[in-house]
């Protein structure tokens, strides 16, 4: 590949180095200089994990060709401080607990630094606006804003540096205590190594050919041209799997690489390892696949008709049906003063962790296959991998790298199998980093759902009976569908004492992107329906939404939906606290005017309004409402 010579100053050090002509500044910093505090979250200028200063101006280094930076003064997060000598802003990020997964944090620290350099007295609205180019998925931003305001006040000598060390000693519980996060300094200084930041000698780079068909038979895979590409060291398909080729969190039905047919757009078919990412991409582009398209299912209702089977050997598209029966709903509905019926649907949701999937694999000196990845489930992965690779369990090792956000999305073992095959085949370390686009098409999403709901209540608001039927789109593979259906069934009717319950949750296979684990794991979809039903009931019965919930809330001694006796119940405590903190405007839902009185109460944060830095009064307070 053509080269380019760069002369520039990085963090005060003069550097002269030859790099690839096409490298972005981000690639140059990470690949050539190992300055991996600058992260790549999206590669398209959306997320801000790659923010660096060029000649004092903060930019996103994924949008800067390295050639543009020739002769410039670059400052990266490594230049701001180190874990022993942190800047005020870095200390403040530690103090407020602003770093959670930590992947966005180097970029956030850079954006905060830029904001306070440009305007040391920036008010909250100006801070929000200037940091608008950086995304965090964990914190909800409050702790980040708290940190920037804290640092600002220390820089302006309005607060003493002591605020950086005001931690609490937990008494009986860590919950609610502001304790020191021991990993915070490594995160706020960009020193923590995520999987994509790791480098090993002789390491190869993996790229993956993915299906562009939702449902198709694979007739032929032509690797002739790909094998001839310079730097290609190994190519694997499903034929290279030595053991039992399937994995999955609950049902093990997914092959490492598509076998005979593809079941969704984005499914991996061939993996290539080469000396550089570019060579591996060239090889992928040179592979020809012959498909025979099959009729596909995109709708879970269609899947239930069983006209097309996604997995033929199962003879059904039903992944799991979980029924729960408690009491007698039919009889109870007869006594109800009010019966409400409705349908609810939810969409697939991407986890959008800031760290795209990445991993490193190698076979060590003792022949132990080792996988380093941000997996949320390494023990299970290890057992599955032993079967897949036909290895005794002591020859498989999983190391969990720091997880740059998971939210359930990193429970599936969707790329570790390919890493294992190539490390075994080439006997060289292999690294794989997904692009954001690849991550979005190929990894599991939250289950899209449709819920039919029937609720019977007395006129006082007491729930007499509930019938729920939920159908979830599990997508092409089992992943976590079974567990999600269980949780949806067990928790879906909510923390309410319901004596008569008929609950059915079904998950089915379709040719959509697989659905998997996601925060709250199935409970969200059905509980969304339950809570909506309670709001509708409150409106019909002219009751306060809190009140109708209190009447029905679980108390100690109640039986859960699966008839477990409760030793304790906290729902009423939670409701009371919520009502207080939200400055709740009491009354039935329809009694409120066009603007709710509690929406803009003192404890609620204002939405960010653009233009804070254009306002002449400059106090950042909202002028119009």
């Amino acid at each position: 590949m053509p080269n380019l010579e760069l002369k520039l100053t990085i963090n005060g050090r003069k550097i002269k180095k030859t790099t690839f002509s096409h490298y972005r500044l981000l690639d140059f910093l990470r690949e050539d200089l190992d300055l991996t505090g600058t992260k790549e979250g999206c590669g398209a200028g959306e997320c801000g994990t790659c923010s660096v200063f060029i000649n004092g101006k903060l930019v996103k280094s994924c949008l800067v060709p390295a050639a543009k930076a020739d002769g410039a003064k670059i400052e990266t997060v490594e230049g701001l401080g180190n874990p022993e000598q942190m800047s005020h802003i870095q200390k403040a990020f530690c103090a407020t607990g602003a770093s959670q997964c930590g992947f966005c944090i180097p970029g956030m620290v850079m954006a905060a630094t830029s904001t306070l350099r440009n305007n040391p007295k920036a008010n909250l609205e100006q801070i929000k606006e200037e940091m608008g180019g950086n995304i965090c998925r964990c914190t909800g931003y409050q702790k980040i804003f708290d940190a920037v305001e804290m640092a600002r006040d220390v820089i302006n000598k309005e607060k003493s540096e002591k605020v950086f060390d005001e931690y609490e000693k937990p008494k009986n519980s860590f919950i609610g205590a502001n304790v020191k996060r021991i990993d915070a300094p490594s995160k706020v200084t960009g020193r923590l190594k995520y999987a994509a930041d790791m480098k090993l000698p002789n390491m190869l780079h993996m790229q993956v050919l993915r299906s562009d068909r939702p449902h198709a038979k694979i007739l032929n895979i032509d690797l002739t041209k790909a094998k001839k590409i310079d730097g290609v060291r190994g190519i694997v398909t499903c034929d290279d799997v030595p053991g039992i080729d399937n994995f999955g969190v609950f049902i093990e039905d997914q092959p490492v690489l598509a076998k005979d047919k593809v079941r969704y757009v984005g499914e991996a078919i061939v993996a290539v390892a080469a000396d550089t990412v570019e060579q591996a991409r060239d090889a992928i582009n040179a592979i020809k696949i012959k498909y025979k398209d099959l009729p596909a299912i995109y709708d879970p209702e269609e899947a239930l008709k069983e006209k097309i089977l996604i997995h033929e050997h199962y003879k059904t598209n039903l992944v799991k049906h979980i029924p729960i029966r408690k009491g007698n709903t039919e009889e109870a509905f007869k006594k109800a003063d009010l019966i409400i019926e409705d349908e609810f649907s939810t969409q697939p949701v991407e986890h959008a962790y800031l760290e795209p999937m990445a991993g490193v694999s190698y076979v060590d000196q003792d022949g132990v296959l080792t996988i380093v990845s941000p997996s949320q489930n390494i023990t299970h992965h290890r057992h599955m991998m032993a079967k897949i690779m036909n290895l005794p369990i002591h020859k498989v090792r999983f190391i969990m790298s720091p997880v740059g956000g998971g939210f359930g999305g990193k429970e599936d073992m969707i790329y570790q199998g390919m890493l294992a095959l190539l490390a075994t085949k080439t006997r060289q370390p292999i690294k794989y980093v997904m692009t954001r686009e690849e991550d979005i098409v190929s990894t599991a999403k939250r289950h899209p759902s449709r819920t039919k709901y029937k609720m019977g209540l007395t006129k006082e608001g007491k729930i007499l009976a509930v019938e729920i039927s939920m159908l979830a789109d599990g997508g092409a593979y089992g992943c976590s569908t079974e567990g999600v259906m269980r949780k949806a069934a067990i928790l879906g009717a909510g923390p309410y004492n319901i004596e008569n319950l008929k609950m059915d949750t079904r998950g089915v296979y379709t040719n959509n992107t697989p659905s998997g684990a996601f925060r709250s794991f199935g409970a969200l979809q059905t509980e969304f329906a339950t809570e909506s039903m309670l709001d509708i009931a409150a409106e019909k019965l002219q009751m306060d939404p809190f009140e109708i919930r209190r009447i029905n809330a679980f108390v100690k001694g109640n039986l859960t939906h699966t008839k477990q006796e409760l030793n304790s119940a906290s729902i009423n405590t939670v409701l009371n606290e919520l009502e207080k903190l939200s400055n709740w405007e009491k009354g039935p839902p329809q009694s409120r005017g066009q603007i709710r009185k509690d929406t803009f109460s003192k404890d609620n944060r204002d939405a960010c309004e653009l233009g804070a830095r254009l306002k002449s009064n400059g106090n950042g307070k909202r002028v119009n409402r």
Binding site: L4, G48, L58, V59, P65, D70, G132, E437
Partner: protein
Amino acid sequence: MLRYDNYFIPKTLKEYFELTSKVKDCRIVAGCTDILPWAREGRGGDVFLKNVVDVSRIKELNTFKFGSKKILMGAATNYQKLFLDKKIRKSLKVLPQVSVWFADDQIRELATIGGNIVNASPAGDGMPALLTLNTKVTVARFKNKKIVKEKMPLEKFVKGRNKVALKNNDLLVDFELENTDGYGACFEKVGHRRSLVISTVCVASLVKVNKNTFQDVRVAVGGVCEVPTRLLKTEKFLKGKSIDENNIYAASMLDLNVIKSRSRREYRTEVLQNFIIRSILKSLGKNNIDEEIQKFDNKVKQNLETVHA
């Protein structure tokens, strides 16, 4: 992934034309904030280019000449300058208003106003604002080894969706803008995400007041038609009229047929009318915009019912 063999950064127009007349297969870039996100899966995919020519450091594209009537601004001026520059904030008030809605601070440091105009996206935010400034553009061409410059109105330069009056290696050099000190300005925009958002509808406006009448009104709209355009009927109606609710409302109805979008027309119509009203009120420097605009709410809703009946 974007790959290329050579990346050239000429420093003058002369250097640029000498280079591009010698070297074949040149791709011209400035801020690179469009090409890099484009060369990815699902859009351009793996893109291979021979030569990339970065024009963002050409001297002539970085001029800034300030005059009491006209202001000359280089095409490589970045959006962050439009946002922060004190002279621009005073004399070209509409530009900071656009900039605050344009991507984010970090992208604005790279993205150029010239690149935005040359892309000629129907949803480009720069063009409506420049239209209100009665902008003329300078194009440089290389003829018989000589640099020839041509000046033309912006309306003539942008010919259609992604089409501008540039051939071969012609280059957009600068913009001649009208100094609009004394005008009130506003830019309104809506899309899917606040930062980095692509306009579904955007409106730029400039208003000059003489006592209680509109001395001059300029309104331009983007996102709803192939090329952003001035709302001439609205402007003409208001000029010389007294500043009151009825006149603003009457004017807001006159140009709603500019919407040519295939999708969400009803939504866009409602937004556009609200934006016209809102941007004029804001350009007038009204406080309590939310209260002011509520006075128009019912009228706008009734009008929509008749439009879509």
